[in-house]
């Protein structure tokens, strides 16, 4: 049985993971340049050693409430076909190794939480690990200036462990 390694991070208290192969690096908060007229999910541009990287807010992508004022996000830099993209997350976790036998079906309660982004769920000791599909996480309707649910959605908390 082959084990899989995930770079993990939390967003709004939920533990997410992305396969390590898709992740270029993780960084603490970087200064961002805001991009006017951009879709709401684009938080800004960061300078990654001379390379300009678009930072996307994962909370926004998942339809969660915005980060509390003053809390600085961290960067999970993903490799992409056309350059790196940064996902802004709340906190960076460890690299976890899991085995396929821990896989669980997607809980129904995930309905609201950007279900199309979640590739799978692993039951770890004490909590669930939601596996994020990196390419759908950074794909969205670019024509949209603002997430339509923005502000209305209060961000339901993640499913807690049984």
């Amino acid at each position: 049985m082959e084990s899989i390694q995930f770079t993990t991070f939390t967003v709004d208290g939920v533990l997410f993971g992305i396969e390590v192969g898709a992740v270029q690096e993780v960084l603490r908060y970087q200064q961002m340049t805001w991009v006017p007229l951009a879709p709401a999910i684009v938080s800004g541009l960061i300078n990654l050693r001379g390379q300009i990287v678009t930072a996307l807010d994962l909370r926004q992508r998942l339809g969660l409430r915005p980060r509390a004022a003053g809390v600085l996000p961290m960067n999970v830099i993903l490799r992409g076909d056309d350059g790196a993209v940064s996902l802004l997350v709340d906190d960076i976790g460890d690299v976890l190794t899991v085995t396929p036998d821990l896989a669980e079906p997607l809980p129904e309660t995930l309905q609201h939480l950007g279900r199309e982004l979640i590739k799978g769920v692993f039951k770890l000791s004490g909590q669930l690990l939601l596996v994020l599909d990196p390419s759908s996480a950074v794909t969205f309707q670019t024509g949209r200036r603002r997430a339509p649910d923005d502000g209305r959605r209060t961000g339901a908390p993640a499913p807690s462990n049984p």
Partner: protein, 784 residues
């Protein structure tokens, strides 16, 4: 050098280019299958096939051309959504790609496009085109029967056996002064479509430098990849230098400052040195054109002479690559549509041999390329009706377009006036591609056409894309870079100037700048950072900083919070998430390490509707009608000898001057004065209006209203300048029986009946002979 060598060169280029195109086709086709609705993918595939077909057509590979033509017809129907994409179609198209690849391999090996039988494939393509789905037919393996083409056998695995990367991807670097014609460059490994010199774009690993082997006569062959990498590194160095320069400002250490200055100098020199290695004369691209023109004109029964001027004009390699296709398209267009057949030319009384001229020159940090023919010019009516036919416009809209707008129609996607689809053109691909490609590298194309006399295409492109001078401004707390190339001037209004200069036209803010009105755009509003500033609140401001920009031949002012300074910036492309925002052309990294966005001046203008050509021409059309007469106008008021007031629209006045009466000199029947290095003919408004006319020499200072059409100026001598006023002009027709040419009518201005003059008409009638015959030839006499 024999023509054989030349031919080989052309074929080699064709092969390299086609292999690249085929690789892209594979990707595009697969992407299309996954996302069948994507019109963009179809258009891209269509263009690629079209390019291959066009090129192999003039190289004489009939078999290859036949296959490509069939595929193109199929794609054309797909593009027009006449048939829907199905798995059969995709398979057939992929098979076509493989077949083409096989033939290319054969060309590479034997100079022939092989003797494989593709009739089955062509028939299938035709069948699919007519919408018939072959009943349960297995994927056609119309594999060319050629041994050296393994790729062709695997019809369903297109990417499996791509040919080895072309081995000639190197350009020459001049290390000694030599004639530019020698620096023939082979096509680079990067496809021209990836034009932005993305400094972070991974350089192909195939960068084994063959330098050591080919050191002859001061030339070294260097892989293009190495040059690209070098350029990227210089870009990074420029950024680092900028950061250090900013840092040094806060440090009080003479040693450090001196070192920094040296670093600065060296970086600048290194930058220009590396740029130079990438410069190539435009002649490199032009050299291929005579052949194209010759073959094409032969097949069309035309005789064409080609003239070239400025072939040594140098451009950055990426730009040369990017304009290669547009140039070829334009030239083919001139040959196909522009120039008439020999018989028609004779009938029109023209030289039976058509002339096609290419000109290139540097101007204001840009390169201008002109392609002109002495053909029939554009047939505006046919373009109009074609546009209506194609559903691009309604008949009513088309009738209201002016000449320039009609000309612009040919740049719309899917537009073609060719009656029948030929191998050369007529599928409506081409001009839109030309425009897109040129605009992608920050250039503009425009065209002027005169019926019966010919058409001229003008391309303006920047010298280089990688590192550009830019003005840094601040708006809404963020910095933005504006490419210096679009910048005309900076205006700063303070205190009373603000109130005096800011005005509204139809509610939109304008700035009165030296007699002309400049539309204003608030950058914060354009970027959605604030509501559009209304005129009253603008007029309240203490200071206003305006950046005057030029986009597509229109001037407009952008209001910014602060103008910082100008800086060399390294242009970096934006990620795909931000590509769709027209206001931004890219991003750069500033001295402090933060990212700043680069404004796309044209995009900005369009978003703010400053450059809606429709709006402008509507205004132009209504001029002279009641609407225009009711509009507020700036008028210059002066008085005649008998005290009568006269008004002239300020837009017709170039300048107001005062001359010493003693400097007036007689010249034949005119009086002239030396003015800014030219001879300015003077006309007396009193003489023209029949109110006398003085002996000027005795009268001390003379007030002269200078009117000019840009080339020739005329001075109108007036008694006294009264004022400049802003009035709603309610023109009444001049009294019957007494018409002085050039009097528009009269209006009540400042409670007095005032005659309003059209200087253009008046002075042209009067001074026509003088102006026509030129200032060095004295006219025989006045008309009146």
């Amino acid at each position: 050098m024999s023509s054989n060598d030349e031919n080989e060169e052309v074929i080699k280029e064709f092969l390299i280019e086609s292999y690249e195109n085929l690789d892209r086709l594979d990707r595009d086709l697969v992407a299309l299958e996954q996302n069948p609705g994507s019109g963009e993918s179809i258009a891209s595939i269509f263009r690629t096939i079209h390019t291959i077909k066009g090129t192999c057509g003039f190289l004489g590979y009939a078999r290859l051309e036949g296959v490509a033509h069939a595929a193109e017809s199929l794609l054309s129907r797909l593009r027009d959504e006449e048939i829907a994409l199905s798995a059969e179609i995709t398979t057939a198209l992929l098979t076509t790609v493989d077949a083409i690849r096989g033939m290319l391999a054969s060309i590479e090996a034997t100079k022939q496009d092989g003797d494989g039988d593709h009739s089955q494939l062509v028939a299938l393509l035709h069948r699919l085109q007519s919408g018939q789905v072959p009943a349960a037919e297995a994927p056609v393996t119309a594999a060319p029967t050629l041994a050296p083409a393994p790729a062709a056998k695997t019809s369903n695995a297109p990417a499996a056996a791509a040919p080895p990367p072309p081995s000639v991807a190197a350009t020459r670097v001049e290390t000694a002064p030599a004639s530019p014609a020698l620096a023939t460059a082979a096509s680079p490994p990067v496809p021209p479509a990836a034009a932005p010199p993305a400094s972070e774009r991974a350089v192909e690993p195939a960068a084994d430098v063959r330098a050591a082997t080919a050191v002859t006569d001061g030339y070294v062959r260097v892989d293009v990849g190495v040059l690209d990498k070098l350029m990227n590194l210089v870009g990074e160095l420029v950024l680092a230098r900028n950061q250090i320069l900013q840092f040094v400002a806060g440090v009080d250490d003479a040693n450090f400052t001196a070192t920094t200055q040296r670093l600065n100098l060296i970086t600048t020199e290194l930058q220009s040195g590396v740029m130079k290695t990438r410069m190539q004369p435009i002649g490199n691209v032009w050299e291929k054109l005579p052949r194209v023109i010759r073959d094409l004109s032969l097949s069309l029964g035309k005789r064409i002479r080609i003239e070239m001027e400025g072939r040594e004009t140098e451009l950055d390699k990426t730009i040369i690559e990017a304009i290669k296709d547009p140039l070829t398209h334009l030239v083919r267009n001139c040959v196909d549509h522009g120039l008439e057949k020999e018989a028609d030319r004779v009938k029109a009384g023209k030289d039976p041999e058509g002339r096609l001229s290419l000109r290139a020159f540097h101007e204001g940090g840009q390169v201008n390329i002109e392609i002109s023919d002495d053909g029939a010019g554009l047939n505006l009516d046919r373009i109009r009706s074609k546009a209506v036919e194609r559903g691009l416009l309604s008949a009513d809209q088309a009738a209201h377009l002016d000449e320039r707008e009609v000309c612009d129609l040919i740049f719309l996607p899917g537009f073609s006036t060719a009656e029948k689809i030929s191998n050369v053109s007529g599928r409506g691909v081409g001009m839109d591609v030309v425009k897109t490609n040129v605009e992608r590298i920050g250039g503009v194309v425009d065209l002027t056409s005169r019926a019966g006399l010919g058409t001229t295409f003008r391309i303006k492109i920047p010298l280089t894309l990688a590192i550009i001078p830019a003005l840094i401004v601040t708006s809404g707390g963020e910095r933005y870079a504006i490419p210096q190339i679009s910048l005309l001037e900076l205006v700063r209004l303070t205190g009373a100037q603000v109130k005096a200069s800011i005005d509204a036209v139809h509610g939109a803010p304008v700035c009165r700048l030296r007699g002309s009105l400049l539309p204003l755009v608030d950058l914060r509003a354009s970027l959605g950072l604030a509501a559009a500033a209304d005129v009253p609140s603008l007029a309240e401001a203490d200071t206003i900083s305006i950046v005057v920009l030029q986009a597509d031949n229109h001037r407009f002012g952008v209001i910014v919070d602060r103008i910082n300074d100008s800086e060399e910036i390294v242009v970096k492309p934006l990620g795909k998430h931000l590509k769709g925002i027209p206001a931004f052309a890219g991003a750069t990294i500033m001295g402090d390490g933060r990212v700043a966005l680069i404004l796309d001046v044209l995009g900005l203008a369009q978003a703010a509707h400053v450059v809606s050509s429709k709006e402008r021409s509507k205004a132009r059309r209504t001029q002279g009608t009641e609407v225009a007469q009711r509009r507020k106008q700036s008028l210059l008021l002066f008085s005649l000898a008998d005290g009568r007031p006269i008004a002239v629209p300020l837009s017709m006045v170039s300048r107001l001057e005062i001359f010493d009466g003693r400097t007036i000199e007689p010249l034949a029947d005119y009086r002239v004065v030396q003015y800014r290095g030219e001879v300015l003919p003077l006309l007396d408004v009193d003489a023209l209006m029949g109110t006398g006319g003085g002996n000027w020499q005795d009268e001390g200072p003379l007030h002269v209203v200078v009117h000019g059409d840009g080339k020739r100026n005329v001075g109108l001598v007036v008694r006294r300048i009264i004022d400049v006023v802003e009035e709603h002009l309610d023109l009444k027709k001049p009294a019957q029986g007494r018409t002085v040419s050039g009097v528009l009518g009269c209006a009540v201005i400042q409670r007095r009946v005032t005659e309003v003059l059209d200087l253009d008409v008046m002075l042209r009638t009067e001074a026509g002979r003088f102006l026509l015959s030129g200032q060095d030839v004295a006219p025989a006499g006045m008309e009146q």
